[in-house]
């Protein structure tokens, strides 16, 4: 576990980091380092320059002003422990609390996590279900993109090589109920399958729903058919069965697997965990 040589620079502002990225081909950003450092140690990645943004204070805050805004460098522990996050997006706090182990949660950041876009990671699924907005800064200024458009493919996002994530923003969800249900890989604790639901309820009737699936899929994906199956229902078992079938149909082009958890299993579990997420949200 011996990385190849690299240069190291600590950036003090986002602009400085963006400059360094622009000037150095193949430079990589270092935030919490929990995806990058293992890759360096295995020599799966050999960047010439690491730009450390880990101490940029401006990217660390969690605030709520009509919408919830979480700075990119907020750690998973900060996200899971924040009463503000719990109030606005309880499923995000819940998911963050089950990432890795305490050491990972104390170092890994939400911005670093989504920029890495590991398909088995939890935050992309949850942010997709919340229809979150990703704030991005680059050489030509700031821009935003919706989570569903941000995650492009396996380990691939909409980020350009000289851009960085500055924050994620989640709109006020009103009285909605949400939950994230996950089957953890026993070794890595990444999601074998993770399903997040956000339900707008009117009494016992579900007015509308957003459903996202990760772990089982090459990227976090929404399931419009499952959302339609839940909307207008009382979330009884017939509706849940319909939604489970629908989510399996929607994700079938994205399903992935490995020798321990093949795709047929993950595919089926997306339906099972959708039901569990819904039950958990309304319990």
């Amino acid at each position: 576990m011996w990385p190849a040589n690299f240069e190291y620079v600590r950036a003090s502002t986002p602009a400085e980091a963006i400059d360094l990225l622009s000037q150095n081909d193949g430079a990589k950003l270092l935030a919490g380092g929990h995806s990058l450092i293992p890759a360096l140690k295995l020599r799966l990645n050999e960047p010439a320059l690491l730009v450390d943004i880990g101490r940029i204070a401006a990217l660390k805050s969690i605030s709520a002003n009509g919408t919830l805004k979480i700075g990119a460098l907020s750690t998973h522990a900060e996200v899971s422990g924040s009463s503000t996050v719990k109030g606005y997006a309880s499923a995000l706090a819940q998911a963050a609390d089950h990432i890795g182990d305490p050491a990972v949660r104390n170092f890994g950041t939400i911005g670093g996590n989504i920029a890495h876009a590991d398909p088995a990671s939890d935050p992309p699924t949850v942010l997709t279900a919340y229809d979150a907005t990703i704030h991005i800064q680059g050489a030509s200024g700031a821009r935003t993109v919706k989570a569903a458009d941000f995650f492009v493919d396996l380990f691939t996002t909409d980020l350009q090589s000289n851009e960085l994530v500055t924050a994620v923003e989640i709109a006020n969800q009103g009285t909605s109920k949400s939950a994230y249900a996950k089957l953890s890989h026993p070794a890595s604790r990444y999601a074998v399958v993770g399903v997040c639901v956000v339900l707008q309820m009117n009494g016992s009737t579900c007015q509308s729903a957003r459903v996202a699936v990760g772990g089982a899929t090459v990227k976090a994906v929404r399931s419009p058919s499952a959302e339609a199956a839940l909307a207008g229902s009382s979330l009884d078992s017939a509706a849940l069965d319909a939604a489970a079938s629908a989510v399996m149909k929607d994700i079938q082009d994205y399903v992935t697997g490995d020798v321990s958890f093949p795709s047929d299993y993950r595919h089926a579990m997306a339906g099972v965990y959708l039901k569990r997420a819904v039950r958990q949200a309304i319990s």
Binding site: W2, L42, H185, P186, A187, V259, S260, F261, V272
Partner: protein
């Protein structure tokens, strides 16, 4: 001090471990030390046509690049335990392979550099011209016609065919049986994963021709013996081996490895200290693995549940090349323990030791006995199922009765189970569990579509492995002895130093040996220190494995203590002007029987012995003794473990609801240490049942090559364990101890498997291979006769 044996005093090892003051191999830094990195084969089977090291050697900071040809004068490593009584076809590693590799990860070149980063950089610049060869990874397929051949001296990839028992008698018993049950079992390959990977540092002095080698080892004296006598062909006196603080081994650090010899050869070649520290990736491909059996069994039983015959055929995967004691594990430590806790009149077991293009397989915690226990404890459940009997009744019906000890299971070739009371442990487990209530709860849960299951494992294992005359070359093929030795020195001040040939890599010997010493001498435990793991200054020992350090090593200490006490009594008699027979030694005081007021303390006697102003005629100064102990028999811990699970039929997820372990490890020196051993053992054994498994693809690439894929369990996977003990002292040794290092691993795996299959029995699930991952359980449910669409 009285009462120390049996007391849960805190481990004196722990403060340095907790505070980070403990010095592991990687903490050792010598002046002028250079760093080695090993280039490993990316192919599971290939010929090395040529190696060009010039580009790597030209990198700044690189001191030298070497291949196997540079060490042609260094002998291959020895295989020190070949299967007893049969022909073996051993093939062992060289420090670096020269012509051919037989598993992914075999070392073929080494870079020595100023630091490890440069050494690793240089690896990428070594050009190897490979000729890939066909690969076989499955032990049974490797023996079939047309399979790739790994070694010229091993036709059909067979290293050895070994058997125990009379095949014709078993066949006859099977014919006469009321029922015959056939079953196929896979005991999958595991990766030991100690917290500290392996490493070694070697220094060589030209002036004296002496090596000092620091290494992560469970057996430093044996390492010295093997390296000097077999690999380098030099006198033992020319090497000192030091195993500093060792961070766990689980068997994987018993063995001599190529890299340990390589750093020594390099140190001699380059006249500089050389360090090699394994990465976790290397640990997974190049350190030994465990288990990996494919087994077919045939069981004969009477209608009343009596097991009358057991016929077993096992293909034991030994890997691409032999590790130090590989052939002994699936033979002596497996085949000879297949009777378990039961009276089985007829047992025959045939074992094929097979080479495949996979990493080396050798002892892993339990070493053979978990594999045997898995077979016989599945057998008990299979018989119950076939005869529609209760699994507890089948066990109780077949248990060896407590009045038949010492018991000769015949297949142990003369050794006898030393002592036991198997019904008692089972009854204790049933009481804690409330078995009747559980079965009622299970029936009720099934009505609600919930799948609770219970699994039992009533095990016996073999510890304190010795008698040298039994296990040695003429008997079981072990190429050495297996006694232990110890030295006890009582200094002038009365402080005691015990040196032992055993090695501690987590077992807490520094505490438990001090407890025995302090109790025997009647002094404070703080006045005893225990030293180990350096061939300079400790007496010879065969090392720590097979739960033998207490039953053999500590008994050597005990023996030495008796002789020290004897001499102290003789000196006290002289000082008190009394006859030796009248001297009482009690609580650290020596006095004439009936006159405790006129006493000498052991400290006073030690002082008198050390000063030697006033000794009886002919007595040598000092209280000091070295004892050697070669036990007359092994010891046989036993017990019953019970696991209660709930299976989520929708996902296949197995939740452990309760885990009850009743162990009998003989007399206990430190209950807390024993409980710690049992906890860790259960965790590893349950992990085999549910999570762990090394997976090679058909090209011989290890797919489970990192801890992101290989599932080492975490604390929150488990409920609180419910532990209890029965205590049946071993008659084999004066301490009455048996051994507690492996019981948890040996017992737990079949308890979990039996529990999961019990849970799923209403669905018609017959068997599920380990690890019983959610996917495999889910698939088994979906494919079962009653489970589809559940």
């Amino acid at each position: 001090m009285a009462g120390l044996i049996g007391s849960s005093i805190k481990r004196r090892e722990d403060p340095r471990l907790i505070t980070g003051e403990a010095r592991y191999l990687d903490d050792v830094r010598l002046p002028g030390m250079l760093h080695a990195a090993v280039l490993r084969s990316p192919y599971a089977h290939a010929r090395i046509k040529s190696i060009d090291t010039s580009a790597a050697a030209a990198l700044p900071g690189v001191v030298g690049v070497f291949t196997g040809k540079d060490f042609a004068d260094v002998n291959p490593l020895p295989c020190a335990w070949q299967a007893g009584g049969v022909e073996n076809h051993p093939n062992t590693p060289r420090v670096l392979e020269i012509d051919r590799v037989t598993f992914t990860g075999a070392g073929v070149a080494v870079v020595v550099a100023q630091n490890r980063y440069v050494a690793e950089d240089a690896l990428a610049h070594i050009q190897v011209d490979w000729e890939p060869l066909p690969v076989v990874v499955d032990a049974k397929k490797a023996t079939e016609p047309g399979a790739p051949q790994l070694h010229e001296n091993a036709p059909n990839n067979i290293c050895m065919d070994w058997s125990v028992g009379e095949e014709s008698a078993v066949d006859q018993a099977l014919k006469q049986a009321d029922v015959v049950i056939k079953h196929h079992l896979i005991n999958q390959r595991l990766i030991p994963t100690p917290m500290e990977p392996r490493g070694a540092i070697a220094q060589y002095l030209d002036a004296t021709g002496e090596f000092t080698v620091w290494m992560t080892s469970q057996a430093p004296h044996v390492m010295r013996l093997l390296m000097t006598a077999f690999v380098f062909g030099i006198p033992e006196t020319k090497m000192r081996v030091i195993a500093p603080q060792v961070g766990g081994g689980f068997g994987s650090k018993i063995f001599l490895y190529p890299e340990y010899c390589l750093v020594a050869a390099l140190a001699r070649k380059l006249h500089a200290p050389i360090k090699w520290m394994e990465t976790r990736s290397e640990n997974y491909i190049a350190t030994t693995h465990g288990r990996d059996h494919i087994t077919d069994i045939e069981i004969g039983a009477k209608r009343d549940g009596t097991i009358t015959a057991l016929k077993v055929e096992t293909y034991a995967n030994l890997g691409g090349i032999l590790s130090t004691i590989a052939p002994g594990i699936p033979t002596t430590l497996y085949g000879r323990m297949l009777s378990g806790t039961y009276k089985v009149a007829n047992i025959y077991c045939k074992v094929h030791g097979v080479y495949t293009n996979t990493g080396m397989v050798d002892a892993y915690r339990g070493a053979g006995r978990p594999e045997a226990t898995f077979v016989i404890e599945r057998v008990a459940d299979l018989v119950a199922k076939e005869l529609k009997m209760d699994v507890v009744d089948v066990r109780r019906k077949n248990f060896i009765p407590s009045n038949e000890f010492p018991y000769d299971p015949v297949i142990l070739r003369g050794l006898k189970y030393d002592s036991g009371d198997y019904q008692k442990g089972m009854q204790r487990a049933l009481d804690i569990l409330d078995y009747k209530a559980f079965r009622a709860e299970q029936a009720q849960a099934r009505q609600q579509g919930r799948y609770l299951g219970i699994g039992f494992s009533s095990y016996v294992e073999i510890c304190g492995v010795a008698p040298s005359a039994w296990i040695g070359l003429p008997g079981e093929g072990w190429g050495a002895g297996l006694w232990e030795s110890a030295n006890v020195r009582v200094h002038l001040t009365g402080k005691v130093v015990v040196t032992t040939g055993s090695q501690s890599h987590g077992q807490g010997h520094e505490t438990s040996v001090a407890q025995v010493t302090a109790e025997e001498l009647g002094i404070s435990v703080d006045d005893v220190i225990v030293q180990h793991s350096d061939t300079l200054g400790t007496p010879f020992g065969y090392g720590t494995y097979g739960s033998r350090s207490t039953a053999v090593g500590t008994v050597a200490v005990y023996k030495s203590l008796q002789r020290v006490k004897e001499k102290a009594r003789a000196l006290a008699a002289h000082l008190l002007e009394a006859a030796v027979e009248d001297i009482v030694y009690e609580n650290g005081k020596l006095f004439v029987k009936g006159s405790p007021d006129q006493s000498k303390t052991i400290q006073e006697v030690a002082g008198a012995a050390a000063l030697a102003y006033n000794l009886p005629p002919g007595m040598e100064p000092f209280l000091d003794d070295t004892a050697y102990y070669d036990p007359p028999n092994c010891t046989f811990p036993f017990g019953t473990h019970v696991c209660v699970v709930e299976v989520d039929a929708e996902t296949g997820h197995v939740q452990i609801k309760r885990y009850i372990a009743i162990d009998d490890v003989g007399k206990v020196i430190n209950p807390m240490i024993v409980e710690g051993q049992v906890h860790g053992g259960i965790v590893q054994g349950v992990a085999q049942a549910l999570w762990e498994g090394a997976i090679y693809d058909e090209n011989g690439q290890l797919l489970s090559g990192t801890m992101m894929d290989y599932a080492i369990p975490r604390a929150d996977f488990f409920p609180r364990f419910e532990l209890d003990r029965t205590e049946t002292p071993s008659p084999v040794n004066p301490l009455g101890v048996k051994g507690a290092g492996e019981t948890g691993t040996i017992a737990s795996t079949p308890a979990v498997v039996n529990a999961v299959l019990d849970a799923l029995s209403p669905l018609g699930v017959e068997t599920i291979d380990m690890p019983m991952t959610p996917y495999r359980v889910w698939k088994a449910i979906n494919e079962s006769q009653n489970g589809g669409g559940a």
